[in-house]
C-alpha cells in the first residue's frame, strides 16, 4: 500500500480505501461508459470530519483528486485518470429540514429524490429534477449546476442553493453564500464549477411548496417539425409551463418497450409532454387554452392527465428514456446542447440530415421549452468504423448548434467530453479568465484536473509539472 493510501486509511479505515485495480474498474466511468479512466485509489469518507481529513491528506501529499457522487454524470466529469477518486455516496445525511423557512441542509451524497421524499410530508419538494433524480446526488447536482424538466419554470440548481460549506483543495473549510448581504456571489461561482473549485461538505437548499394543482398534457404529432414549432407557439402565447418536453419516435419506441412504458402512441413522429401547475383556477384555464393551442398547432391528439398515478406514468417514461435506449444498441452516446427555441425545428432537421449522412440514428429527447437538445446516438462503439461515424456526426451537430447561436451544454457540464468544443465557443481571453478564477479556489490545480476548461487556454499551464495534467 502506498503512503497516500495508508494515510487515507488512517482517516476512513482500511475497508474504505480501494487500491487494487480489480476493484477500481467500476469507478472508471460515469454514465457515459464510452469514456474511461482508471483511478489509482478510491476513498469513501462517511462524515464531514472524514471528508475534510481526506482532503487534507491529499493536500499534504500534493495529490490530485476527483470528487464523485453517484456517477450518473454525462460528460465524464467524475473520471479520475490515475489519481484519487473521492466517493461521497456515504455522506447521505439530511442534517436539517426546516418546513417553516423552507430549507434543508444536506450532505453531498444525499440522493436528489430522497430529499424530495423527505420534504413531501410538509407539502414541499426540491425543484431541480434531473432525469437521473432517482440516483444522482445533490453534491453532483451542484458540481454540474444540474437542470431537469421543471427548471423551465423553477430555475436550475443555482436558483435553489442558499449556502454551502466547502472544503477547498488545500484543506481549508469555508462557507459560501450568494452575497445577498454584500460581497461577491462566490456560491454562484462555485455552483457548476464541475468539481474544480473544491468539495461540498454540506449545502443548504431551498424547498419549494407543492403547487395546488398539477396537470400534464401529452400531445402527439405526425411530424417532428410541427411538434418543435408547437413549443414556440406555447411560449409565445404567454403560458409558462412547468415543463415542456419533446420525444421523437425512436425514443418513444424504446420507452414503450421498457418497464416504464407510459402509453405514448407508438405511431407518433413526436410527442410533447407539457405540464402546467399553480393555483387551481389558473391551471384549468391554461389547460383549456393549451389543448386548443396544441390542436391548432397540428397535434393529432391531446391527452390530459389529472390523476397523480397517470401523471407519474407519463413522467417515468420521459425520465427513464435515456436508460431505455440501451435496448436499441450496446452503447449510447448522449449529447447536450442549447439552441434558440425558435430555431428548434430547423436544427432538428439539420441534425437528422447529419445523422443520415453519417449513417447513424439520432434519438431526440429533450427540454424543448428552453431549447435544451439531447441528441442521443445508440451505437456499438466497439466497432471502430461506427465509432468514427458517431464521433463525426456528434461534432457536426455541436458545430451546427454553436453556429445557430447556441451553447455546448445545457446541464450536463463540459467534463472531458465537451472540452474540445470550448475553443469554438469562447475566446482565448474568456477561457483564460476562467483559468484565473479557478486559481483562486485551487491554485495547485489538484481538484478534478483537466476538466471543464481546456488546459492549453491557461497561460500559466506550462509551469505546472506534467504529472498534474490529468486526463486532458
Amino acid at each position: 500500500m502506498s503512503s497516500l493510501a495508508a494515510a487515507l486509511a488512517d482517516v476512513v479505515g482500511g475497508a474504505q480505501v480501494l487500491a487494487r485495480p480489480a476493484t477500481l474498474h467500476v469507478y472508471r466511468s460515469d454514465a457515459l461508459p464510452g469514456l474511461r479512466a482508471l483511478p489509482s485509489l478510491a476513498v469513501f469518507p462517511a462524515t464531514p470530519d472524514e471528508l475534510i481529513g481526506v482532503i487534507r491528506v491529499l493536500a499534504a501529499h500534493d495529490a490530485p483528486f476527483v470528487a464523485r457522487g453517484a456517477g450518473t454524470g454525462l460528460s465524464g466529469g467524475a473520471l479520475a485518470d490515475g489519481i484519487t477518486l473521492v466517493g461521497l455516496h456515504r455522506m447521505r445525511r439530511i442534517l436539517a429540514l426546516d418546513p417553516v423557512a423552507r430549507t434543508a441542509t444536506v450532505e453531498p451524497g444525499v440522493v436528489n429524490a430522497t430529499l424530495t421524499r423527505a420534504a413531501a410530508p410538509h407539502g414541499l419538494h426540491y425543484a431541480p429534477d434531473p432525469s437521473s433524480q432517482a440516483a444522482c446526488t445533490i453534491g453532483g447536482n451542484i458540481a454540474e449546476n444540474a437542470g431537469g424538466p421543471h427548471c423551465l419554470k423553477y430555475g436550475v440548481t443555482l436558483d435553489h442553493v442558499v449556502a454551502a460549506t466547502i472544503v477547498l483543495p488545500d484543506g481549508e473549510v469555508v462557507t459560501l453564500d450568494r452575497g445577498d448581504e454584500g460581497g461577491y456571489d462566490l456560491l454562484g461561482a462555485f455552483v457548476g464549477s464541475e468539481g474544480c473549485f473544491g468539495v461540498v461538505v454540506d449545502v443548504t437548499v431551498r424547498l419549494t411548496p407543492d403547487p395546488e394543482r398539477i396537470v400534464t398534457l401529452l400531445a402527439d404529432f405526425t411530424s417532428v417539425d410541427t411538434a418543435a414549432d408547437a413549443t414556440s407557439q406555447v411560449v409565445a402565447a404567454g403560458i409558462v409551463p412547468a415543463a415542456l418536453e419533446l420525444m421523437d419516435a425512436a425514443t418513444i419506441g424504446a420507452v414503450e418497450s421498457s418497464v416504464y412504458a407510459a402509453g405514448y402512441p407508438r405511431d407518433a413522429a413526436a410527442v410533447l409532454l407539457v405540464e402546467v401547475d399553480g393555483a387551481a383556477d389558473g391551471v384549468e384555464a391554461d389547460v383549456t387554452h393549451l389543448t386548443a393551442l396544441l390542436r391548432d398547432a397540428g397535434a393529432r391528439g391531446v391527452r390530459v392527465a389529472h390523476d397523480p398515478a397517470d401523471r407519474a406514468r407519463l413522467w417515468q417514461g420521459r425520465k427513464k428514456a435515456f436508460g431505455a435506449m440501451g435496448r436499441i444498441a450496446p452503447h449510447l452516446v448522449v449529447q447536450d446542447a442549447v439552441v434558440p427555441r425558435t430555431r428548434l425545428a430547423e436544427l432538428l432537421r439539420t441534425i437528422e440530415g447529419i445523422g443520415v449522412r453519417h449513417g447513424v440514428r439520432v434519438c431526440n429527447v429533450f427540454h424543448a421549452g428552453d431549447g435544451n437538445l439531447h441528441p442521443n446516438i445508440p451505437c456499438d462503439t466497439d466497432d471502430p468504423a461506427e465509432a468514427a461515424r458517431v464521433h463525426a456526426a456528434m461534432s457536426e451537430i455541436m458545430t451546427a448548434c454553436i453556429a445557430a447561436g447556441g451553447s455546448i451544454t445545457g446541464e450536463h457540464g463540459v467534463g472531458i467530453d465537451k472540452l474540445g468544443y470550448m475553443d469554438a465557443l469562447f475566446t482565448p481571453e474568456t477561457l483564460d479568465a476562467m483559468c484565473r478564477l479557478r486559481e483562486v479556489f485551487d491554485p495547485g490545480r489538484r481538484a478534478n484536473p483537466g476538466k471543464a476548461v481546456p488546459v492549453h487556454a491557461c497561460r500559466e499551464w506550462h509551469a505546472v509539472p506534467a504529472g498534474r495534467r490529468g486526463v486532458a
Binding site: 474504505q16 480501494l18 487494487r20 485495480p21 480489480a22 476493484t23 474498474h25 467500476v26 469507478y27 472508471r28 466511468s29 460515469d30 454514465a31 457515459l32 461508459p33 469513501f44 462517511a46 453517484a70 456517477g71 450518473t72 466517493g87 455516496h89 456515504r90 440522493v111 429524490a113 430522497t114 437521473s132 432517482a134 440516483a135 444522482c136 420507452v255 418497450s257 421498457s258 418497464v259 416504464y260 427513464k320 428514456a321 435515456f322 436508460g323 431505455a324 435506449m325 440501451g326 435496448r327 436499441i328 444498441a329 450496446p330 452503447h331 449510447l332 449513417g359 447513424v360 440514428r361 445508440p378 451505437c379 456499438d380 466497439d382 466497432d383 461506427e386
Partner: protein
Amino acid sequence: MTTDAVSRPCALPGTPLAQERAGLDACVHCGFCLPACPTYLALDDENDSPRGRLLLMQTLLDGTVRPDDPDVGRHFDQCLGCRGCETACPSGVPYGRLLEATRATLTTHRPLPLVARLILGVFAREWALRPALAAARLVRASGVAGWLARALPARLGMPFAMLASTARPDAANWAATGDGQRGEATLLTGCVMEGLFHPVNRATERTLTVNGYRMRSTPGQVCCGALHAHAGDLETARALARTNITAFESCGAASVVVNSAGCGAMLTEYAHLLADDPAWAARAATFAATVRDVSALLAAAGPTPTAPIGAPRRVAYDAPCHLQHGQRIVDPPLAVLRAAGGIRSVPLAEADQCCGSAGIFNLTQPEVAERVLAPKLRRIAESGAEVVATGNPGCLMQIGGGLTLTGSPVVARHPVELLDADYARGTRRD
C-alpha cells in the same frame, strides 16, 4: 446503424457468461439501479451494486480481471439476487440470468464455499433431504431450536431462530369443500415448504378448494433447483428441472401452483434454463406457462371473502423479491389479504426492499444478510403490525428469525395462512 454485436475478443469463450453477453450490452450505465440495490445501500461500494457487478462481468469477459480474483468473487457472493434492479432498469438488463451465468462461470475457477456445497448437495438428493428436514423438525419440536436461538450469540443463533419461527402451534385444521369449477391445479409441495411449513401447504390446498380449484397431487416432484441455479450450479438445476417437468406432465393439471415465490420464479425460468436443450426446450416452455403463484390463482377467483371476524389483527405485507421482481406479481397477495375478514392491513414502509434472506444467502453471508435485515425489522416495528405477511419460505424464516431474536411479539405468516385461518373460523361459526 448496426445493432449486430461486433465480434469482440472474449477472455472466457464458451462459458455461461459469454453466452449471456447480449444481456450485458443492454446496460448503458445510467445508474438507476443503484438506489434499488440492498447491498449497495448496506455496503456503500459500487462493486456491490448492479451497475458495478455488470461492469465486473464485462471486465471478466474482456480479460481485464481474472475469474479467480478473490475480490471479484466476493462481490458476486455478496449479491442477494433479489432482482430489485430489474424492476428499476429502463433498459431491461436480465440481471438475474447474468448473475447465475457469472456464478456458473466462476465456479470452475473457485469452488463454492463448503457450507453452500453441503446445503446444495442435500437439497439435490431426496434421500438426504427428507431425513435432514425430519431432524430439523425434531430440533424444533423439542424446543432445542428456541433455546439455542436465545442462548447463542446473535449470528450463531440466527439459524436456530429461523427454524424456531417455522413452528405453527396455531395451525388451522379443517376440511374445505368447493365446486371445482375453476379447473384442476396441482401444488409444488417444495422442500422447505413441505418439510417445515406443511401447514402452509395444507392452507394453500384448502383456500384453493374453497375458491373453486380441484386439487390433484403430483408424485415424483423434487426440489425446484432455485438454490442451485442461483449459486451457479446450472447443471444440477437442469437435472432437477427435467425431473419436475416429467412429474408435472404426468399429473396433467392445468395449473402448477406455487406458494413459495423463489420456487415459482425458478419454475417460470425453466424455459430459459433448458432453452439450449433441443429435447427439452419446448416441453420446458409449455410447462413454464402453466406455473402460477397461489396468490394469482386466488386473485383470479376473487378470492371468496370472509365476513368481518372479531377485532381485526393488524397485518403488514412485505413483498418477496422473487414475487415482485422475479415474477412481477404485486397486487394479488394484497387481494388475498383483503379477502380475510379478520385482518386490517397497515402500510409497511420500504416493503419493496429485500429482507436479506435470498435462498441460502443468510447462511453463506450472515453478516451482509444481517445488515440488510436490520432496516426491515425497524420498519416492521414502526408499522405497528402484529403480523407480517409474506409469501416465501426464505423471507418467512429470515424475518421470523429476526423477530424472534430481537424478542419482538410480531410473527411472520404466509398470506394464504391468514386467509385460511379466517375461512376456518368462518367454518366453525357455521
